[in-house]
Structures are given as C-alpha cells and as structure tokens.
C-alpha cells in the first residue's frame, strides 16, 4: 500500500472501531436490562410465593370422648368420620379461653382455626383409636388470616389499619379484630404456634378456604390436557409436514394449504375456544370443562406451529442424503423414515416443545369451554371436570384474600417449573437424537 492509502485507511479505522464499541455497548446494555427485568420478575414471584409452602399450626388440648364427639370409641370408621369433630374443636377452644361468653365472640374465637382442621382431626382419631376418651394436645391448621400474621412474624399488639389508623403504615393489615389478635398473642406467648413446611399446596385441589387451597387439581388437569394435545398434534402435524414437504406435488392446491397453515398460526387463540365450544361441546356433546376437549382445542392451536417448524426441519436436511438413499434403491417412504426423519427429529421436537409450551400457558380458549370451573376434586380421567394451571392463576389472582395472592405467585412458580422440565426434556431428547449424527 502506498503511504497515502495507508493514511486514508487509518483515518477510517478509528470511526469503524468506535462504531463497533457503540454497537457492543448497546448489546450489553440490552442483555443487562432484560436480565435485570427477569431477575426482578422471578424475585418478586418467588418472594411472594414462598409463604404458600408454609402453614401455621396452633396447639390445642382436645378432649376426644363420647361427650364431645357424640359417638362411642368402637364405631365403624365411616361413623367416626361423621362424628362431631368441629364440636370437639370448638369446646377445646372454649376451654382454653373460658372468659369468652358472647355468641359472636365465640364465633370469632372458632374462626382462628381452619375449617379443614376437623377433617385432619377425624383422620387422626381413626388412626389413633386408643386415644379415645383422653385429652390430647394436637396441632391444628390455623385460619389464613392468623396464618399470614404468624408466618410473617408480625407484632400483634400494633393497631389494625382501619378508621383512625388508616394512614399508619406500621398498623396491621388484617381482617382479624382486636380480640382475635389478643387470643393469637396468648397462643404465641404460650409457644403454641408453629410454622411448618406444608405440602397442602401440592396435595389439595382448590378450596374456598385459602389455607386449604392447592394446585394439585390444576396440575393434573394441565398434565391431562397437554397429554391429549401432544397425542393429537404431534403425529398429525409431523405427518402433514412430511406429506407437504416430501410427497405433495407443487401446485396451486398445496400453495393454498401452505398459506392457510401460516394463517392459522396467527389466529387469536380465543377463536379456537369459540370453535371448540360450538363444535365439540354444543354439537358433539362432549363434556364441558374436560381436559379431552381442552386438549383438542389446544391441538388445533398447536398444529400449525408444529407443522411449520417440522417443515423447516425437513427442508434443512440436505437433498444429497435423499439422492443417496434413492440412488441405492430406497423407496420414497424408506427415504423419509430411514434418513430424512431421523435427521429432522431434533428440529421437529424443538418445534413441538415450543408449541406445547404455548399450549401450557394458554388461558383464553379454555375459558370458552368451561375449564374455568372451581375444581376441588383431583380429576381422575380426561373426561372429569378440571382446570389448568394458568386458569388457576387467573382465578386466584382475582380473589381478595391475601393467602390467595401468595398462592397465585406459588402457582406461577409451579407453572414455570413445569415449563423448565419440558424444556429440559426437549434438550435431552435432542441430545439423544443428535448423537445418531
């Protein structure tokens, strides 16, 4: 290079490097910002959701005899189940606070214990028959308002944020009244409160009582729905993609099909819900709120996604492989099943998982077909009424009780964990298929 050109090149170099630096700066800022938002989002969800995995218990001395339960100690399990355990708990609470006389005050006192405690007590009695006639110290599940205060270790002597204390930021936000706080304090002073890790959230269905509400029914519902979605959409979509990519003639009809598949991928999901309502529920009379209908509706939504990504994966297989197989005398189907499909599998699986992840997070179409129901019982089959995780989140997010807020966050955590597991499965499957070069 002559001196002059070197000079010129040098003059531009500085500018070029500056541009590169700027560009890199932008990139790093963008990544940092998105990571920051992600951390904030996850952090707040985890912070809000963690208390849902704990529950407060109150220790109460309960007398279990014919007087309190209304049945003898030797009755059948079924009869024992129907005994008056709620009465026994109430009398135990009255015994603990003998000064409480008024009807209304008594009612407030009973409200400190969860209404689910009696079922736990019944189970305890059936499993420990020898304790009939005795007075035993038992830990009973606390009501959600009491639970919230104890779990967060609040100072129960603070005023309640109502009326004159409305603007006092240190005042307690609770629906309990002064008396109830006093009783709770006396439990606390006696060391009769205990915060334990609780699996209730994972073992129960939904409930009106937030301390007993759990994610199990929605989780099982989601699993059934996804299973149906996968079982329908994967084989149909892969078969469609193979036909379109490997066998279909190139003409106006296939062009039309292709355009429509692309359009379907862009149809708002609620439209599929309306279709499902009209066709599957009203016309075909399939059960309302059932995972089988939800799964079919979501497959309609997932199909185009899987077809498009499968076609891309098939297209990416080098034509030389097809030629090689054909040149050896492989039939068209053998070319596809022996060579093209295995090579395209990782891509197809990725598309499938993306489609299923979309389906897992979908709410709108499921609302249309009634999967928004209040589900207490864990669904036992794909035709039982059920709901799914995102709908459960939607339902709980709407509830006023604070305990439901923490359950909302906890349910989101479960949903995210579900997604992570699915993605992991996708990665593992890809690895497995890719190892076959």
């Amino acid at each position: 290079m002559s001196d002059e050109t070197t000079q010129r090149v040098r003059a531009t170099l500085k500018k070029r490097y500056l541009k590169e630096k700027l560009f890199r700066g932008f990139g790093i800022t963008a990544i940092a910002a998105s990571l920051g938002f992600l951390v904030i989002l996850l952090g707040s969800i985890i912070y809000k959701g963690m208390p849902a995995f704990q529950a407060t218990y109150l220790k109460v001395d309960i007398t279990l005899n014919e007087d309190t339960l209304g049945v003898g100690g030797t009755v059948s399990d079924a009869e024992m189940q129907g005994a008056n355990f709620s009465g026994a708990i109430k009398s135990a609470m009255r015994d603990r606070f003998p000064d409480v006389k008024k009807r209304k005050a008594k009612k407030n006192l009973y409200a400190l214990v969860s209404s689910g405690a009696e079922y736990a007590l019944a189970e305890y009695m059936i499993n420990n028959r020898e304790q009939f006639g005795q007075t035993v110290s038992l830990w009973l599940l606390a009501d959600d308002e009491a639970d919230a205060l104890i779990k967060r270790n609040k100072d129960l002597s603070k005023p309640i944020r109502r009326g004159e204390f409305k603007n006092d930021s240190s005042a307690l936000v609770t629906r309990l009244n002064k008396d109830q706080l006093g009783w709770l304090q006396s439990f606390k002073d006696a060391g009769d409160t205990d915060v334990r890790i609780s699996s209730t959230f994972f073992t129960n269905g939904n409930s009106r009582e937030p301390e007993q509400a759990g994610i199990r029914a929605a989780l099982v519902g989601s699993a059934y729905t996804l299973l149906i979605t996968f079982a329908l959409s994967f084989p149909i979509a892969v078969a469609a993609a193979i036909y379109l990519e490997e066998f279909a003639p190139q003409n106006r009809w296939t062009d039309l099909v292709e355009v429509n598949i692309n359009n379907l991928a862009a149809v708002p999901s609620i439209v599929f819900g309306l279709l499902g309502l009209a066709v599957f529920i009203n016309y075909l009379q399939l059960p309302r709120s059932a995972p089988v209908v939800g799964g079919v509706v979501l497959s309609l939504m997932t199909l185009p996604t899987i077809i498009i990504s499968s076609r891309a994966a098939l297209k990416a297989v080098p034509p030389s492989i097809r030629e090689a197989a054909r040149g050896l005398g492989a039939s068209p189907v053998q070319v596809v099943t022996h060579h093209v499909l295995p090579l395209a599998m990782p891509g197809i699986l990725t598309g499938t998982i993306i489609g299923l992840a979309q389906a897992l997070g979908e709410t709108a179409p499921l609302l249309m077909i009634g999967m928004v129901a209040f589900i207490v019982d864990i669904p036992g089959s794909v035709t039982d009424p059920s709901t799914v995780l995102p709908v459960q989140v939607f339902l709980w997010a709407d509830a006023p009780e604070r305990a439901f807020t923490e359950r909302t966050s906890a349910a989101i955590m479960v949903l995210l964990a579900f997604l992570i597991v699915m993605n992991l499965a996708a990665v593992l499957l890809r690895k497995k298929f890719e190892r076959r070069w």
Binding site: S320, A324, G329, H338
Partner: protein
Amino acid sequence: MSDAAKEAFDALTETVGRVTVDDPKMQAENVDVFYAEKQAIYDVTLDVAKNEVVAMIGPSGCGKSTFLRCLNRMNDTIPSCKVSGNITLEGESLYSSAMDPVMLRARVGMVFQKPNPFAKSIYDNVAYGPKIHGLANNRAELDDIVESSLHRAGLFDEVKDRLNAPGTSLSGGQQQRLCIARTIAVSPEVILMDEPCSALDPIATARIEELIDELRENYAIAIVTHSMQQAARVSQRTAYFHLGKLVEVGETKTIFTNPSHELTENYITGRFG
C-alpha cells in the same frame, strides 16, 4: 449465442463416430430431455458396453449429468423433467410400466459429485442397501457383504478398526470410496458416476481412478468428468457433449489424439470449456 455459433449448433444433426457397441449393457436411443419448456438433451443415442468405462465430457451445462441421471431414472423426482426416447438395460425398457424404479436403482447404482454418506456408522452406510433389498439372510452374511464391499472399494484396511464410527468422520476421499462401497454392496450391474472426484484432492483422485479401473472387471461404468486427463486415464470410450447434443463418440485414444469434429477438437485443445 452468436449467429455463427447458432449455425454451428443447428448444423449438429448426427453424432460423429460409432454410438453403438457389439456387447451393450445399456442402450439409449433418440433420448430427448426437457426441463419444463427448456430442452436439455437433443436426440442422444449412446450404448454402454459390458466391462467398459465410458466417459462423458463437455463444457459445464451441456447436459452430461442430465443424461447420466436418465440411465437410472433419478430424474423422476424432478417434476418438470420429461424424458422421451428409449433406454434399455439388458434389453428391458427403463421407462416401461414393467420396470420398477426402485428395482432399477438396485441394478444401476450411482455415485454422486459430492461425497454424501448417510448420517450413520461406516458399517451401516455399506449395510443399508443390502438390508433394504433383503440381500443378506443373517448378520454373518451381512458382515461378509460389508467387508468385501469395503475391500473392493479399497477402504477396508483404513476403517476396519472403526466400523462403528460415523461415515461423516472420514476424509473426503475416504467418504467417496465409502459411497462407492455402499453402491457396490447391492451388486449392481452398472455404476453411474457423476464427477466423483471433483471435490477431492489429487491423491484421493488417483486412488479413486485406480479403483474405477479395477471395478471395470465386474461392472459397466459410465462416468461424467470435467477433467479430460481423467477421462483419458480411466475410460475406454469417450463421448463429447455440447449444448445438449452428443457431438462425437469414439475410442478414448482416438478422441484425444485425433478428434474428427471441430467442436471436439476445440474443446480438447482448450479453446473453450
């Protein structure tokens, strides 16, 4: 095309030299090939003899590959491609309804320009053809076929310790020999090769050329090549194509030392191509 060239092209009506042989394996008669409206092959007649290597040379785009791919109906998969004329293998017509294209490709194997081993192990690459055609009754027979095919392709000693390694892990020249082994594993009668050495270095090329010479003992071979030296080294007869027409056919020696047609001479002497 200039007017003069167009006239010269239109003047090409008859192939110079003897297009038939006494002992043909395959015969192509008056073959025309169209890609949609565009004609790629004009009225080509050419025989492939047993135990002979016939080389097809010519400037690129003159239709060598197109003609070669007619010989095992690989063009079937191109929807716009229409073939007319008569092509026979041992007297059986290729394009008659009695001829199954899958069966045909087992009898007329093909080696491609770019080595294209399957995404499978070396063993499975060679075993694939015999497996789908049911040529082996058991694993031992299959092992024998694989071993002897690799031997004949001159690859066995290099890969005998790693038959389970992926075929794609081999070098380019080894991959091409693997593709040849894969082709001969189904015991074809004819082998078609489309510029099999164009992606290889000179040493790998020499190795393949030797191999082609050895294979001639058992197979009829038609090879397309853009290298005149290669045609001169491996073939017994040479066919020169020009813009879709077969200009001249003859003994390789004669074509390269004493071509009859002006176009052939121009090409041989490097005036174009």
